[in-house]
Subunit: 259 residues, 2 copies
């Protein structure tokens, strides 16, 4: 058991401008970290909403350019949706999980299960929609490399980057932040085989800490102000674990009771 | 739009002893807060795992005292489980949602959907299991009242208490902390009708901040050490909202695609 973290700080990063395709997001995040005065230290985790990542990567689609398929037209008519938006959702999906109550839940090309394949209004203009990054793990890894170089961290330093999206959950009201891209961080902490304070062996306890870090960071982000990133300082995994990716958080379909 | 929080602190509370039925949990939490040196201020949120709440409230069952019904015997045989534990899970449930892969997902008497109705090993001894609190909202409200009195907070002060459990999620690996009892805090923040930085009206964005606070606090709690509570300092809801309960987080069954 490693020394445990008694205190964690969540710091929202201000002053990140509206992002456009081709912008150097790593540089803009680096400037925001410098302006915040907290700097970047080994052990930090940077959490970034996918919206700015997707915009920088040009993952925007103009609805006027989309030709809906007959299937998209049919779904749109049944569920009172824009057929062009449905067409984009289907292109971003590999399986439809549920269609009801005007909600289209699909499995994305990455393997995530969420409403509308993560496609949503872009806040660019009403005719432009924003997709998830093509590979959120690669996006996280790219930001990590660039920021490590900028702040003089070394390859072995524990510096994590998480790219997030906010999703609804079955049985629960409201959305929360989830980790869709991860780099330099163990997304899961496996307590199985370890013993608790009373000497009990823990059996089925694997914690999705990347999702908890994503959710935590939302508390200092802001949907209304322009604050799409946060720094988490002081988090240390209670059990040493190798870094992984956002793909590690996807449940094996064979074990999934809700496909 | 209220002034937003740029920084939030998560502080794990050490030195809470093993809890037994009848223990004054509020007093033990109060002592832990005093020992931590951070005190208790208006705006703080105290997050407590249900395990210590359940133990203090005597929500423990000795398996030797349980007579399994024929239905429990049948389920246990099909899924290789202890029939006495299945019997307790059924008594704590009002509906079975899924039974497969050795997992029994039910809707609890409170309305939560989770594995085994939240019933798990107690770490008291292998023959004793721990149930969820009878009414986690009442547990949270009781702790809140006692701690407000102890630390001299007034009824109008924003001091929130959240009681948590950790659950698996469909489609995702690993468990995360969820809010099952809430007092003195708005569990949901409704952005609908508000406008983002680009002037866009937000349409379907209701954030489950109580679940995000629960998940965040797990980062400074610890399954191996005895740290079942954490204090969140500096969180302020971005939009003013009335306090609610853990029941507010349960999705209306009529709108649920995964029942």
């Amino acid at each position: 058991m490693s020394e445990t973290t008694r205190e964690v700080r969540l710091v929202g990063l201000d002053g990140i401008p509206e992002i456009h395709p081709g912008d150097d997001l790593a540089a803009l995040l680096g400037e925001a970290i410098e302006r915040s005065g907290v700097g970047l230290l080994p052990g930090d985790v940077l959490v970034v909403t996918h919206k700015v990542v997707s915009k920088a990567e040009g993952r925007l689609v103009r609805l006027g350019d989309v030709e809906p398929s007959p299937f998209a037209l049919q779904i749109a008519a049944q569920h009172d949706k824009d057929p062009r938006q449905v067409e984009v959702v289907l292109r971003e999906s590999r399986r439809i999980v549920r269609m009801d109550h005007g909600v289209l839940v699909t499995e994305t090309t990455h393997g995530f299960t969420c409403a509308n394949a993560g496609v949503d209004a872009s806040n660019v203009d009403t005719e432009t929609i924003c997709l998830l990054p093509l590979c959120p793990d690669a996006s996280a890894a790219g930001l990590r490399q660039a920021l490590m170089a900028r702040f003089g961290l070394r390859e072995g330093d524990a510096f994590g980057v998480i790219v997030t999206d906010s999703w609804g959950r079955p049985w629960r009201r409201g959305i929360v932040n989830f980790a869709i891209g991860v780099a330099g961080l163990a997304p899961l902490i496996d307590y199985r085989g370890h013993h608790d304070a009373a000497g009990y062996e823990l059996h089925v306890t694997v914690l999705a800490v990347a999702d908890e870090l994503a959710a935590a960071s939302e508390l200092v982000m802001h949907k209304l102000a322009a604050r799409p990133a946060a720094l988490v300082r002081g988090y240390a995994p209670p059990i040493a674990a190798e870094p992984g990716t956002g793909q590690d958080l996807i449940l094996d379909p064979a074990r999934d009771l809700f496909r």
